[in-house]
């Protein structure tokens, strides 16, 4: 089969292709998207369970007051506002603008801490605990799920921030930064329906 090698053959030269690619061109993006879809599914079913349990119960919320609005609403505000700096450093990441991304990530870490602190206050104002009734259990489960996301995202941000102040800065890091931003969006967007179910459903579906 020697001659097959020496005669010229058509090759597809891909050496010019970029290796720092964003969004749908980066496989990390697809990976994160996959994880988001899975987690969204878990949230959706948890909320569905909430409504199912409501449909099976005579009084709602059973013998307790709905969660207090204050802290949950404050956190919702923080979440929504946090999208502004997030969007900013996401765009700068695409330009490879190191200093902006550094600032953005530090902000992300601070915001993370803030939401976690407020979340702690939220948990103390749910007016039920998980052992009391199925209602209490599902409320705590949903909140717990979201807290887990807050925590993981926070750790992720911290690690990435450290990397951005280390000699490891290169194209991939900026891709990571963009992923970090989109994951935060996911955490925020899933919170919106949760906020309405946890805080408003007991008021609207009251019986």
């Amino acid at each position: 089969m020697a001659e097959e090698f020496v005669k010229p053959r058509r090759v597809l030269d891909v050496s010019a292709l970029p290796d720092v690619t964003f969004a749908s061109r980066s496989i990390t993006w697809w990976g994160t998207l996959g994880m988001m879809v899975i987690e969204a599914g878990v949230f959706a079913l948890a909320l569905a369970s909430y409504l199912y349990l409501h449909s099976r119960s005579a009084t709602w919320p059973p013998g307790v007051l709905p969660p207090d609005l204050l802290w949950g609403t404050i956190n919702t505000a923080i979440f929504v506002l946090s999208m502004i700096p997030t969007e900013w450093y996401r765009r700068r990441a695409r330009q490879g603008d190191t200093s902006s991304v550094q600032i953005g990530l530090v902000l992300a870490c601070i915001i993370g801490v803030a939401t976690l602190l407020v979340r702690y206050k939220e948990m103390t104002h749910l007016n039920t605990d998980w052992t009391q009734s199925a209602y209490g259990s599902i409320v705590w489960l949903i909140m717990g799920l979201h807290i887990t996301h807050l925590l993981t995202d926070w750790v992720e941000s911290v690690v990435l921030t450290v990397l951005f102040f280390s000699p490891h800065i290169e194209g991939k890091r900026f891709v990571d930064a963009e992923e970090n931003a989109s994951y935060w969006y996911f955490v925020v967007i899933t919170w919106i329906p949760i906020y309405f179910i946890i805080y408003w459903a007991p008021r609207w579906l009251r019986s």
Partner: protein, 649 residues
């Protein structure tokens, strides 16, 4: 380099240069050596092989448990096993077969090994996650058996209905172990699902546009999506069960607003798609083998792909057909009857397309094809009994009887195990580099097929004669004895069939004739790689020009060049048309996924005994994950000076 495109050029490659490249690639892609190296491996063929062996070992174990059941049921009012032991045995059998054999084998194992080869890339996307998923699967299975051997095996059936599995009626750790096993297997399945989707969406060989993706790969992608959408159901269901048991939540406690049917809805939201997660890879195998051994492109490619997708969708509208007897409103029952019968249309469509392929092709009867023919016979029977149980009134009679046991063994073994044995015979040369013995192959086929029907056909009749399932024994006067004894005899043949298969594997590995790279003259890209594949899969990444890449290749089919070969670089292509789009790097081997899996296992098992184990275990887990993702200085430095940024971003 302003123009960020791939262009076709003519190149003269000398034999020497390609040999040098081969050596170099071998060095770059070689799996690390030594004992530690074994735990660092991340190549999809390595992990894929481990998945196959492990899942099959679980099949053997669960098969032996089945033997124990058949022994106990061979005699009325037998005392060979205590009721408690029998309940553990049938629960272990069902759980292991479904969660540790069927899904891992049909979905994880086969796609991890085959999909990257079939789409023409050098590894699976996220190979470290892949290694992690394997270890989690392995450890989950091992702990389950450990619990079983200390008489703490789960004993509430493979779907552990509440309240029976709840804190009030199942003291001890049995149900907790079951729930955690589910967590282990679902995490690994979900990880592989994401890897498969990304591999197929982004790493296909140039030219493999959507309408050229091999049916097998389509099957695994549809399955991956089903895993992604179905698993959350069982995640929630088993988590709630675990919390009810360990953290005294009240999800399933009717006394304080909990609901026992919530569990069933959540479980079957997953549980029904689950059975198609097991079956679709089976059909994917059948489509592949049928085409190769009919020597023609499979008939009705579009129809087959659409049937797979349709099955994937309809599967999520069927779960209530497992709950017809719970007394849910008649209206909704009718809906689920309709949906359950509708699913027969895509199934039928596939059957008909395959028959058309066979009837218009030149059939070659080799062992893989035999297993496929066996599949037709067994699966169609099972599918038909599926139609029986899809009808609410009929199901109210046969639900939870041996009729259902017959149904699901016909579809599970027909739809998964027969194709699996076919797949083994078919891809064995590719994986091991040696051919299997045809003679022994034929023997194991006939032993298994005959044994199977003797074992399971009488179960239809038993069910119609009123024998409920999950009974550890039955009264002598019930008229069930003879049929049960026939079944138990059939088991012996089944056993021999599997044994002959094992002997065949064992002998072929040593003395089997050396296999060429494409012994069946098949058309799939995996046959372009050596048998067994080199650690880099392909010396020259291929391009594709048709559905059966090798059959349809142009005489001067181009190959891909220009990737850096001093690192594990990959080519990414566009989702729709598979046009080259970018380059990226596969990560190197590392110990961290293994470490992370060990920690996760400790965390899961610990949480059975002390819920706080979750928070404690979180810290080492975080450390392991950071180690996993932390880049080395050389990597960062090298990339920094090579980086080509995507334009117009």
């Amino acid at each position: 380099m302003s123009e960020q495109k791939a262009q076709l050029v003519l190149e003269v490659a000398s034999r020497e240069s390609s040999e040098r490249r081969a050596e170099n690639l071998t060095r770059v892609w070689a799996e690390p050596a030594g004992v530690w190296g074994w735990f660092k491996a991340v190549h999809h063929t390595t992990i894929g092989k481990r998945y196959i062996v492990t899942a099959f070992a679980f099949f053997l174990a669960a098969g032996l448990l089945a033997g124990a059941m058949r022994l106990q049921l061979a005699f009325p009012e037998a005392h060979i096993m205590s009721p408690d032991m029998y309940n553990q045995v049938f629960t272990m059998h069902g759980t292991v077969m479904m969660f540790l054999f069927a899904v891992p084998m049909m979905f994880e194992a086969l796609s991890v090994y085959l999909v990257p080869l079939m789409v023409g890339t050098r590894n699976i996307a996220f190979p470290r996650l892949n290694a992690f998923s394997y270890y989690l699967f392995l450890f989950g299975g091992l702990t389950l058996f450990a619990f079983f051997f200390v008489n703490s095996g789960p004993d509430r059936g493979w779907f552990a209905y509440v309240p029976l599995s709840g804190p009030d009626y199942t003291p001890g750790k049995r149900a907790d172990m079951w729930a955690q096993l589910i967590t282990f297997t679902e995490v690994s399945a979900l990880a592989v699902a994401v890897e498969v989707v990304v591999t197929v969406f982004k790493l296909r060989a140039p030219g493999m546009s959507l309408n050229r993706i091999p049916v097998f790969v389509w099957g695994q992608v549809v399955t991956a999506f089903m895993v992604i959408f179905a698993m959350p159901g069982v995640v929630i269901a088993s988590t709630m069960l675990l919390l009810d048991r360990t953290a005294s939540t009240q999800f399933y406690n009717p006394a304080v607003g909990g609901d026992v049917l919530l569990y069933q809805h959540l479980f079957w939201w997953f549980g029904h798609p689950e059975v198609y997660i097991i079956f679709i890879p089976g059909t994917a195998i059948v489509s592949t083998i049928i085409a190769t051994f009919s020597r023609r492109h499979v008939f009705g490619y579009m129809a087959l792909v659409l049937s797979l997708i349709a099955t994937g969708f309809i599967a999520f509208g069927l779960w209530v057909h497992h709950m017809f007897a719970t007394g849910i409103p008649q209206m909704s029952e009718s809906f689920f009857t309709a949906a359950s019968m509708m699913i027969a249309i895509p199934a039928g469509t596939q059957i008909f397309c395959w028959i058309a392929t066979v009837a218009t092709g030149k059939v070659v009867l080799r062992t893989p094809m035999l297993w496929v023919l066996g599949f037709f016979f067994v699966f169609i029977l099972g599918g038909m009994t599926g139609i029986f149980v899809a009808s609410v009134p009929v199901d109210l009679q046969v639900h939870d009887t041996y009729f259902v046991v017959a149904h699901f063994h016909y579809v599970l073994i027909g739809g998964a195990v027969f194709p699996m044995f076919g797949a083994f015979a078919y891809w064995f040369p590719k994986i091991t580099g040696r051919m299997m013995s045809e003679r022994l192959g034929v023997w194991s086929f006939w032993l298994f097929t005959i044994g199977f029907n003797i074992t399971f056909f009488p179960m239809h009749i038993l069910g119609l004669r009123g024998m409920p399932r999950r009974v550890y024994t039955y009264p002598a006067g019930a008229g069930w004895t003879v049929l049960n004894q026939i079944e138990s005899c059939g088991y012996v043949l089944l056993f021999l069939g599997v044994l002959v298969f094992l002997v065949n594997v064992w002998r072929s590995l040593r003395t089997g004739p050396i296999a060429s790279s494409n012994p069946w003259g098949a058309g799939g890209l995996e046959w372009a790689a050596d048998s067994p594949p080199k650690p880099y899969n392909f010396l020259d990444l291929p391009t594709v020009n048709g559905r059966e890449a090798l059959w349809d290749a142009a005489p001067d089919q181009p190959i891909v060049a220009g990737l850096h070969e001093d690192v594990r670089e990959m080519l990414t292509t566009r989702l729709m048309d598979a046009e080259p789009e970018g380059r990226d790097e596969f990560p190197e081997p590392t110990i961290w996924p293994f470490v992370a899996a060990v920690v996760t296992t400790a965390l899961f098992i610990g949480s059975i005994f002390r819920p706080v184990a979750v928070s404690i275990g979180a810290i080492p887990l975080a450390i392991a994950l950071i180690g996993w993702f932390w880049p080395t200085r050389q990597e960062s430095a090298r990339r920094r000076e090579r980086d080509i940024w995507q334009k117009n971003s």
